[in-house]
Symmetry: C2
Subunit: 136 residues, 2 copies
DNA sequence: ATAAGTGCAAAGCATTTGCAACCAA
DNA sequence: TTGGTTGCAAATGCTTTGCACTTAT
């Protein structure tokens, strides 16, 4: 029951918010743009405004419910913040987003920052990849 | 003599292009936005248009003369593509950009991509950092 | 000469904001 | 009731484009 998540975040439980949360939870693709979400809701005859989608996503981000990513290509994408941290690979041929985890990279990042006298507050790591050609 | 770089890139040697290249080469900060460059040239009484700065930077990027980075905060920044690859740390308190190199992270990225059947075409790694608090 | 390059103003796109109507608490 | 929420339209901010003029070759 996702109403609890909203209440926890100090947000009133409203139709648009529930629908957007549900969309993020049930969608096949885990990474959706505001426009993606808006279009899908419209297609489902849910009467929301694009501005509301943006506002709600921003609130969700502030509440820690979703993460915002700025991959190449102009628009931001959002994903539900389920559990453990991970980074992303973006297929240059299809646009598909693949998640991965690397403790080693994580550790190295912290080591490097510390060497410079800093602490990593957050980071963004995106690999833009192409399928490995099959041996001829 | 930077005219050669321009000619090499198949670009006519024009005043705006020379000025922009020079700006990137001589500026203290190595990471400048289009607006930054535009403002500085205007202050130097160089009569360029902002649109030209954008066009030139895009051409420079295509020619491999500069790299474009999309750090958080709306606008892109550009830096001269001098030699070896490096990644970036952005200070959250001052906005300062610090460069660093990590062969290990580089290697791990490739290893991970390969494990998934991909090759890394390019990547973006940005650490958002704060000064490490001094021991009390 | 002539194709590329320029400045300006207008257009474009993703995202944000003002505001009157609306609704959860 | 009443302060948070919404949808719409208008505004924003960065970047791109159309076009007539200029310039490098």
């Amino acid at each position: 029951m996702e109403s609890a998540d909203l209440r926890n975040a100090g947000l009133k439980v409203t139709l648009p918010r529930l629908k957007i949360l549900e969309m993020l939870e049930t969608s096949q693709e885990r990474h959706l743009s505001a426009e993606d979400i808006y279009r899908r809701l419209i297609d489902l005859n849910e009467d929301v405004g694009l501005a509301t989608v943006y506002r709600v996503l921003t609130q969700f981000e502030a509440a820690g419910l979703v993460q915002r990513h700025n991959f190449e290509g102009g628009h931001a994408v959002f994903e539900l913040d389920r559990g453990p941290h991970h980074d992303h690979m973006v297929r240059l041929d299809t646009g598909e987003v693949i998640e991965f985890v690397s403790e080693e990279i994580e550790a190295l990042q912290n080591k490097i920052a510390e060497k410079h006298g800093f602490l990593v507050e957050e980071h963004s790591l995106v690999l833009y990849v192409r399928p490995k050609p099959t041996k001829a």
